[in-house]
């Protein structure tokens, strides 16, 4: 009998344990098992109402404006009947190191939002407010910051069909001068000779400058010293490839970035005064053919190798190439939108990286096999961590899109953009939409 009593005692204890555990193991309400994502619905509702900026317009209107009624009608119409809402608009006031949110107006279709609700907020800006952007200047926190744009009136261009070097220089000035400490137009080959000699034109810093050649495949050559035998002219080969070698040496000396906007770099040299009766074999006078020897000599000069004449063709025709993902990111950052695909007919080989101690710092176009359609190459002497000269070569076919040049440079230097505060007083309002469900459990 005693055992039976003991068993009943055990049953009593286990029953007690079950009742107590059941008391704590409260099952959730059926609605919370599979809930609607009210937060997302609230956010997407606000986005829907603002699709044509109607919401942004209405929330800045006077509280008695009839458009508030329209907003309520639209809100009621677009939400399912079992959803109740409360939309509150706050004025955003900033100052004193903090922000203050003052309620302006509230509209609702129910006294309470039930036991469970969720909300989303949406910041809208007044349509009559403009937001400024101040770019960081290249060279602001270090040396350099000078942009030279070759706008030589005494030199002709090639593969810039449809443009002139002058119009390209103007466009580049408009696109890039904001980002540099000084922008200087090199108006003739004499001025080019001056800066090659290390003489500043307007007191600017020469070192670490960027030089953009707007003459396309041709490069302006100053008459005199830079066209003389052994400096600019190779009497053995009857070629001005020697000038390209000297140019490479100067780029190295001043740590410049030389920019080739289209085609085969340094394929011709141009000076109307120096070559009045010579043409580039295509009928453009004031220009002389150098061929692939120009780029080969330039790269040797950049790498501090002795001059040697090499007329070997090194580029490849790739066809359609695409902007790299990083370049696409910087398209959005700087608001420059060239076509994301271009035709490359003068892509450089990756073999130049090891031959001339170059490192690609920015891939403007995605690499295709062992070819680089457009990239910034920085030269680093073996064992040195500081660069000594750079080349930005866009091996695309004519005609040039100057926005790609601007994009590539900004991508490489990455100057920051300082945007004005969105929370300036009276310019922003915060809209909070809180949703709840009615009916059911």
């Amino acid at each position: 009998m005693m055992r039976t009593i003991e068993i009943f005692l055990v049953i009593l204890i286990v029953t007690g344990a079950f009742i107590i555990s059941s008391f704590f193991a409260v099952l959730p309400q059926p609605r919370s098992v599979s809930p609607l994502n009210l937060r997302r619905i609230a956010l997407t509702t606000l986005q829907t109402l603002d699709v044509d900026y109607d919401l942004s317009e209405i929330v800045f209107k006077n509280e008695s404006d009839p458009d508030w009624g329209q907003l309520q009608v639209a809100l009621s119409a677009c939400l399912p009947p079992n959803i109740v809402y409360n939309l509150t608009v706050y004025e955003v006031q900033s100052g004193g190191g903090g922000q203050l949110y003052l309620p302006i107006k509230s509209i609702s279709n129910a006294e309470s939002l039930g036991i469970a609700s969720d909300a989303s907020s949406y910041l809208v800006a007044s349509s009559n407010v403009t937001f400024g952007v101040i770019p960081e200047k290249i060279g602001e926190h270090g040396g350099g910051g000078t942009l030279y744009i070759l706008n030589c009136s005494d030199a002709n261009g090639w593969w810039i069909t449809g443009y002139t070097a002058h119009s390209l220089a103007e466009d580049l000035y408009n696109l890039l001068s904001l980002y540099f400490q000084r922008t200087i137009m090199i108006q003739n080959t004499t001025q080019l000779g001056q800066i090659l000699n290390g003489t500043a034109l307007q007191g600017e810093i020469l070192q670490n400058a960027v030089v953009i050649n707007t003459c396309g495949e041709a490069v302006p050559i100053p008459a005199g010293y830079y066209a003389s035998s052994g400096v600019g002219y190779d009497p053995v080969q009857n070629s001005y490839a020697r000038y390209c070698h000297t140019l490479g040496q100067r780029i190295r000396q001043y740590n410049w970035t030389w920019v080739n906007i289209v085609g085969y770099p340094l394929y011709y040299v141009s000076n109307k005064g120096l070559f009045p009766s010579e043409h580039n074999t295509w009928g453009i006078y004031g220009m002389r053919h150098v061929g692939p020897a120009g780029l080969n000599a330039f790269l040797r000069g950049l790498d501090n190798q002795a001059y040697a004449y090499n007329s070997g063709w090194i580029t490849s025709e790739l066809g359609v190439v695409y902007l790299s993902s990083e370049a696409l990111y910087y398209c959005n950052y700087y608001g420059i939108y060239p076509s994301s695909y271009q035709t490359a007919t003068r892509a450089l080989p990756t073999s130049i990286l090891s031959t001339y101690h170059l490192t690609v710092t920015s891939y403007v176009f995605s690499q295709v096999g062992s070819w680089l359609p457009g990239a910034v190459y920085r030269h680093f002497s073996p064992g040195d961590t500081d660069s000594t000269g750079s080349l930005f070569a866009l091996g695309l076919t004519r005609t040039p899109d100057i926005r790609l040049t601007a994009l590539g440079l900004l991508f490489d230097y990455k100057p920051r953009l300082y945007r004005s505060e969105y929370t300036a007083a009276g310019t922003s309002r915060l809209v909070v939409l809180q949703l709840g469900q009615t009916g059911g459990v």
């Binding site: 039976t4 079950f18 959730p28 599979s34 809930p35 829907t48 699709v51």
Partner: protein, 410 residues
């Protein structure tokens, strides 16, 4: 001795019975908790999957405008961010709403999102993306079943209330939860002129206008020039209020057996086949040749419809007939901007009509139902988003269920 044995037997029996009972009770609580977790997980999965579909354009991003099969699924408009969907990607989803239509002259089936007589959207099965492909691309094949429904938030109901002298058309605008009071309504009224000028092809007149709905969201429009109930017409209305845009339409035809059916056959090349209705459904003799005249209209920024000129070489006019040796004709849509293809047709000098076809689902606010049927499923989680399809407000709803069966108890 015997007493203690009996005591022992009774106590063991009672103990075993009690243990079994308690195991069953605790097991029930545990099972309910596990089920709760599974259902909760299904709801989370549903929300995530819906965002996955709506917040990425797929791979390649412009698959909606091409004939290729995507390698990544998403219906976001590649030109926008947020919950803005591509009207063409949605058009390529094989509809589970209407019965597929077989067109013998191409030997193909067409996905059917037709919304009543005269409002056709038929996309070739070779262009439409099927459910199993999408399930594989989303990684839910054999684990979850789903149905994606995209329905317009604003319903613009258009009805004829008086047939002539004058023609009266009522327009009623409602949302999912409330009428759209005082909504602005812009409309296009197109009347078919069958015999005018004695030309071979039907001509048409268009009239554009704007008006406002009353407090109940409705308005009645009068067209005094319609003095005969044999005049065929099409009426398209756009209602808008505070960012919400809805579309409604209505047609009246006097040749409702022999008419034109447009089939979208090549999205990439924007080719639409113009077929005779008897090739799809034969109603018996006499069979008449139909001449047609196609027009393409776009919704502009100020909510008015504007005609986009079509060159003659796009096949804008032509004749089609039923039977072998009578080939279909082809119209090339002039743009990838969403719009409406309006095709007026003539059977005889007194019989003809007009049909509409949206180019991109949003231009006529067509709904899309894609995926499996939800009926009979054990536990279905749903989630909603408000989305925009080319400025038209839609609601996207995903119903999701698990294919790994488990019993519902408790």
């Amino acid at each position: 001795m015997a007493g203690s044995t009996i005591d022992h037997l009774i106590s063991v029996t009672v103990f075993l019975g009690a243990i079994l009972l308690f195991i069953s009770l605790f097991n029930q609580t545990l099972q309910t908790a596990i089920l709760y977790q599974r259902h909760r997980n299904l709801a989370t999965k549903c929300s995530d999957l819906l965002d996955n579909m709506l917040l990425n354009p797929g791979i390649p991003v412009n698959w909606g405008r091409s004939n290729c099969t995507p390698t990544g699924f998403g219906v976001q408009d590649p030109e926008f961010t947020q919950y803005k969907l591509s009207p063409f990607s949605l058009m390529r989803l094989r509809s589970s709403y209407g019965q597929p239509v077989y067109y013998p002259k191409t030997g193909s089936y067409y996905s059917n999102i037709t919304m009543g007589f005269g409002n056709f959207l038929l996309v070739s099965f070779t262009q439409a993306i099927n459910y199993s492909t999408v399930a594989k691309l989303l990684g839910v094949n054999n684990t979850y079943g789903f149905q994606l429904t995209i329905t317009p938030i604003i319903t613009v109901s258009v009805k004829e209330v008086q047939s002539k002298n004058p023609l009266k058309i009522s327009v009623e605008v409602t949302g999912t939860g409330f009428p759209l009071a005082n909504a602005a309504i812009s409309y296009c009224f197109l009347t078919v002129a069958l015999a005018e000028g004695g030309g071979e092809y039907p001509s048409y007149k268009t009239e554009y206008g704007t008006t406002y709905a009353d407090d109940k969201g409705s308005v009645v429009l009068e067209f005094a020039e319609v003095d005969d109930d044999g005049i065929s017409y099409a009426f398209i209305a756009y209602a808008h209020l505070s960012g919400l845009i809805g579309v409604g339409y209505h047609e009246r035809v006097n040749s409702d057996k022999q008419y034109i059916i447009p089939f979208i056959d090549n999205l990439e090349e924007r080719k639409v086949l113009i077929a005779h209705s008897y090739d799809v459904q034969y109603f018996g003799p006499p069979v008449a040749e139909l001449s047609y005249n196609a027009t393409f209209v776009l919704l502009t920024e100020d909510f008015t419809l504007r005609e986009m000129p079509m060159d003659n070489d796009t096949g804008k006019v032509g004749k089609v007939n039923y039977g072998e040796g009578k080939p279909y004709k082809v119209v090339t849509i002039p743009t990838y901007n969403p719009g409406i293809l309006i095709i007026t047709y003539r059977k005889s000098a007194v019989e003809g009509g007009v049909i509409l076809m949206p180019w991109g689902i949003s231009s006529m606010a067509f709904p899309v139902t894609f995926g499996e049927d939800t009926s009979g499923k054990e536990w279905v989680a749903t989630d909603l988003r408000q989305v925009i399809v080319n400025r038209v407000a839609y609601q996207a709803k995903l119903a999701l269920w698990s294919l790994e069966s488990y019993p519902v108890v408790g």
